[in-house]
């Protein structure tokens, strides 16, 4: 007898997971709190930026001390050119701090989305209705990814608008057309999607909430801290470089405003921008000659910086690895 393809349609599984996600009060609460925090932190940071006329970022307020006249002219031109990037950076500077919190919320909701089913026994209904399991797991991860992206998009839209409103009211010349702003915010939204999906995969692998939530938080926050502490203690550049590929660092890479790149593009290569990172992986030129105090590439520490494009690929790789594990254990497990 041939084995007929299951008539359990993927669309039906998606609908089922969608109903499940939104029929829990905890989902609404956590997502609502996330959006409020996005708006609140963005508003507060924008308020703390003060008036444009008195801001140190305003090239008109720059003081050049005792430089020669031609140096001053050069510096002024450079400052004017990078002013746009400065303002853009100020506009979305809430993005990394809020994301640190928001990624925890969406990760935990991702964990709960699957570990919660194991814990309550609802997984039995789920797998009985979709005995091949893989499709059920995939639909769950996809729904959580989409929900995280939607919440991220709403939160980021609200925060961007709030920050814009406050800064614009204080005279800041915001350029809403800055492509780097939108690329950065897009990266932030995608990273939240990643955090949710990755959390759900951890939930699928660990399945006990009390173990899965700390695992997810550990991955997001604790592991990078340990890696960077150890790298510092052991003076191990390789460990530092490994740390650059943990989700948290990668998240920062895709969601940090690329000031150097933006300022460069605006024609205002600024000395203070230091190394201008590319979208892929670049060496960090942090070597200097201790005798002269001058930069010396031959003495570089061997550290690397991960650009947003490389970070996006690495995040996708994390999801693939997580999926392979989650799928393997889900297929085999007795529930």
């Amino acid at each position: 007898m041939s084995t007929p393809a299951s008539r359990v349609a993927f669309g039906g599984l998606m609908r089922s997971k969608w109903i499940k996600l939104w029929s829990l009060r905890s989902t609404w609460w956590l997502y609502a709190i996330t959006i409020v925090l996005f708006a609140g932190i963005a508003g507060l940071l924008a308020l703390s930026s003060g008036d444009w006329t008195s801001s140190y970022l305003n090239p008109d307020n720059a003081s050049f001390g005792s430089m020669a006249a031609e140096q001053i002219a050069q510096a002024k031109a450079s400052a004017a050119a990078s002013a746009g990037a400065q303002v853009s950076q100020e506009w979305i500077r809430w993005d990394v701090p809020v994301l640190t919190f928001a990624q925890l919320v969406v990760s935990v909701l991702g964990v709960l989305g699957i570990a919660g089913e194991y814990q309550t026994g609802a997984i039995k209904s789920t797998f009985a209705a979709a005995p091949k399991r893989t499709a059920a797991l995939f639909s769950k991860v996809l729904v959580i990814f989409l929900a995280s992206v939607i919440i991220g998009a709403i939160g980021i839209a609200v925060a961007t608008a709030t920050s814009w409103g406050v800064l614009a009211a204080h005279g800041w010349p915001i350029d809403a057309g800055d492509p780097y702003v939108w690329r950065t915010l897009g990266g932030a939204i995608a990273y939240l999607g990643f955090a949710g999906a990755f959390g759900s995969l951890i939930g699928a692998i660990v399945r006990v909430q009390a173990g899965a939530i700390p695992t997810a938080i550990g991955f997001v926050l604790i592991l990078p801290t340990i890696a960077s502490l150890l790298a510092g203690m052991l003076d191990a550049a390789w460990l530092y470089n490994v740390g650059q590929f943990l989700p948290y660092s990668l998240g920062n890479d895709v969601s940090t405003y690329p000031f150097g790149e933006a300022a460069n593009a605006a024609g205002g290569a600024s000395a203070s921008a230091g190394d201008v990172e590319g979208p892929w992986i670049d060496p960090v030129h942090d070597g200097f000659d201790p005798a002269t105090g001058q930069p010396d590439p031959s003495r570089d520490s061997g550290k690397i910086s991960v650009g947003p494009a490389a970070a996006a690929v690495a995040l996708a790789a994390w999801l693939v690895v997580g999926w392979v594990f989650a799928q393997l254990v889900t297929k085999r497990r007795d529930v």
């Binding site: 007929p4 299951s6 039906g12 109903i19 499940k20 979709a130 005995p131 007795d334």
Partner: protein, 313 residues
């Protein structure tokens, strides 16, 4: 039709289900009996693919569960009264389950009404009593209007009205030609519901028979006797090699012989009798007898469960 062939499940060195084979036919209510830990739930989980058999196979209408085209509309299952998220309402739980198979709101409302959950359908299921949870589980099993029903301990936690409801439901579903397979550890419950009984002990099938045959096979040879000279009678019977137990109301329960034989014996010794009643041992007793034998046969030592069963007699 559910067919199991040498179905076996081992957890490490412990064998939970040991080469179990049976056929569960449509149009009948088949009861699945056995003490706690006999392997009933494990067997049921293997039928629906939630647990992987160590060896052996089980099919539903000729196919492994995982190969069913539309599991929810072919097989309805209740395996765990708490197989829902406590934060979700009964209606949302059923809607989410139905969505996987395009079962719409109309059917969801039908099974809610069928299970008598209308008044609580919108409330968080976490606040449900065991009985209400059980009703929700049965509603979920019926959601896809399936041809086969597998219900693990469906009456557990139900009030008397609920027990009667499940009994009637099981009977009417079987009467419609469906396959109904339900487990219980209470023989008395099965006696009133099932047409056919499979008894599991220590992971093995120890009986597989129509309930009538089971009753007949098990029906005992005990006779209840009351006499004003009870003590004297008891002593005489014991001397004759019979087993006599004195009951709290002063009557004697004699096993190993017939009412006729005792009547003749009493007449010969001129002992007046006030009562002489053949007692059919109840199904429950027959079932305990069966499972106790099985336990003893297997372990070679009386374990805690067998001891307590023995103490009940």
């Amino acid at each position: 039709m559910i067919e199991a062939a040498a179905l076996t499940k081992r957890y490490g060195s412990k064998t939970a289900v040991d080469e179990v084979s049976f056929t569960i036919r449509p149009g009948l209510v088949t009861g699945f009996l056995g003490p706690n830990g006999a392997g009933k739930s494990t067997t049921m989980r293997m039928i629906v693919g939630l647990h992987r058999p160590t060896s052996g196979s089980v099919t539903i209408d000729g196919r492994p569960y995982a190969d069913l085209e539309s599991p929810l509309t072919e097989v309805g299952i209740l395996l765990d009264a708490r197989a829902y998220h406590p934060g979700r309402s009964a209606r949302d739980h059923l809607r989410a389950l139905g969505a996987t198979h395009r079962v719409g709101r109309k059917r969801v409302d039908e099974v809610i009404a069928l299970a008598g959950l209308e008044s609580v359908a919108g409330k968080r299921a976490g606040g449900f009593s065991l009985g209400m949870g059980q009703r929700l589980g049965i509603a979920a099993a019926l959601l896809g209007d399936p041809h086969t029903l597998i219900l693990d301990e469906p009456v557990n936690g139900l009030d008397p009205e609920g027990v009667i409801w499940v009994r009637r439901l099981a009977r009417s579903l079987a009467a419609e030609g469906r396959t109904v397979f339900l487990s219980s550890h209470l023989m008395s419950e099965m006696a009133q519901t099932a047409d056919h009984v499979i008894v599991l002990g220590r992971g093995r099938v120890i009986a597989d028979a129509p309930i009538a045959e089971f009753t007949a096979r098990a029906s005992g040879t005990a006779v209840r006797v009351r006499s004003p000279r009870g003590t004297e009678l008891a002593d005489s019977l014991r001397r004759g090699g019979l087993d006599v137990a004195e009951q709290t109301d002063g009557a004697l329960l004699v096993t190993g012989t017939t009412a006729e034989a005792i009547g003749d014996f009493a007449a010969r010794h001129a002992v007046p009798l006030h009562e002489l009643t053949p007692v059919k041992s109840s199904l429950e007793e027959a079932y305990l007898e069966l499972t106790r034998d099985e336990v003893e046969y297997h372990s070679g030592a009386v374990d805690a469960a067998a001891t307590s069963e023995g103490a009940n007699e």
